[in-house]
Subunit: 201 residues, 2 copies
Amino acid sequence: MKKSVAVLLANGFEEAEAVIFIDIMRRLEIHVDIISCEQTTALASYFQTPISADVLLADAASKTYDAVMMPGGPKGTDSLSANPQVVEFLKRHIKAGKYICALCSSGAKVLAAHHLLEGRTYSTGDKLADKYQDGIYLDQDVVVDGQFITAKGLGVSFEFSFTVAHYLLNDNPQTVDHQANHIYFKHWPQAKQVIPCQEKH
Amino acid sequence: MKKSVAVLLANGFEEAEAVIFIDIMRRLEIHVDIISCEQTTALASYFQTPISADVLLADAASKTYDAVMMPGGPKGTDSLSANPQVVEFLKRHIKAGKYICALCSSGAKVLAAHHLLEGRTYSTGDKLADKYQDGIYLDQDVVVDGQFITAKGLGVSFEFSFTVAHYLLNDNPQTVDHQANHIYFKHWPQAKQVIPCQEKH
């Protein structure tokens, strides 16, 4: 069965972090719902690229996905963190054992801020982890700890996206390697080497 | 004076190639006009991420930018190449000595197809160059030959974008290096080393 991912966006989201992830998922035939956590599907990104979501969180709140992804962007992660519906959506997916994939500031400002990591290791934007007690920050591009896949920021978006795909498509990891090669992304072999050997906990 | 870039998009454009480039430019305070080469600003990307342009080509056709950028995406570059207004826009910018920045299939299918390279070296998606007489294909991630900056595809979008920024901001290249570091993009030092020593022709 086709895997599915929810991408949670709020105004001010980092557009390239979101679009790289969505693009790589869709190239690999993973279903993506771009979910607006605002009142409308028309969103304003960090650097003003007009991007629309597929659906409102209110209309997708009861659905369950194989993974939930959040990009960074200062105002975007402020809004995600302040939204009880987002926190509830994450808690439900954590409880169901789904992958929680947080890029850039969302790791610290959404996951750690709401004590969702419960002592897991994670990566996030520099110095953001200092503000929160939850989670153990690792100074790595991408960190995988059980169902949590986190990464530093925009410049490691491809590494992060291929890592998420590697876990979602663990019955056929060759297709992920093939796609990295197909798009001329040369850094996946090295990035892949630092993924923990054990698959999902 | 602030530098300015025109990004030419047609339905089917590779969304992450476009959005990474736009994001990096705007982070570096380079003005970007996202220009639709269709009848409306609402565009359909290669993998169905709804992204809107700022302006129609018809309304921007007389403006002159410091650089013109085109992403790949099979149908997108088919449309750009078939659009006489796009070819005219490119010719005018080439004549004015502006940077022409073509990522992925746009190098072969737009520039070489219309004999705009005039014997310059360039990079583009694999095997596409075989179809055209114009230009000398180099099997490199990014190729800079005078005012032409070309690159292979999606996986080298950051290298391509920082290379374009390096030339546009050649009075202050440190700001480009700083931004690459700020977003945790580790591959810019190596990518920068293969840029020809001579700055603009």
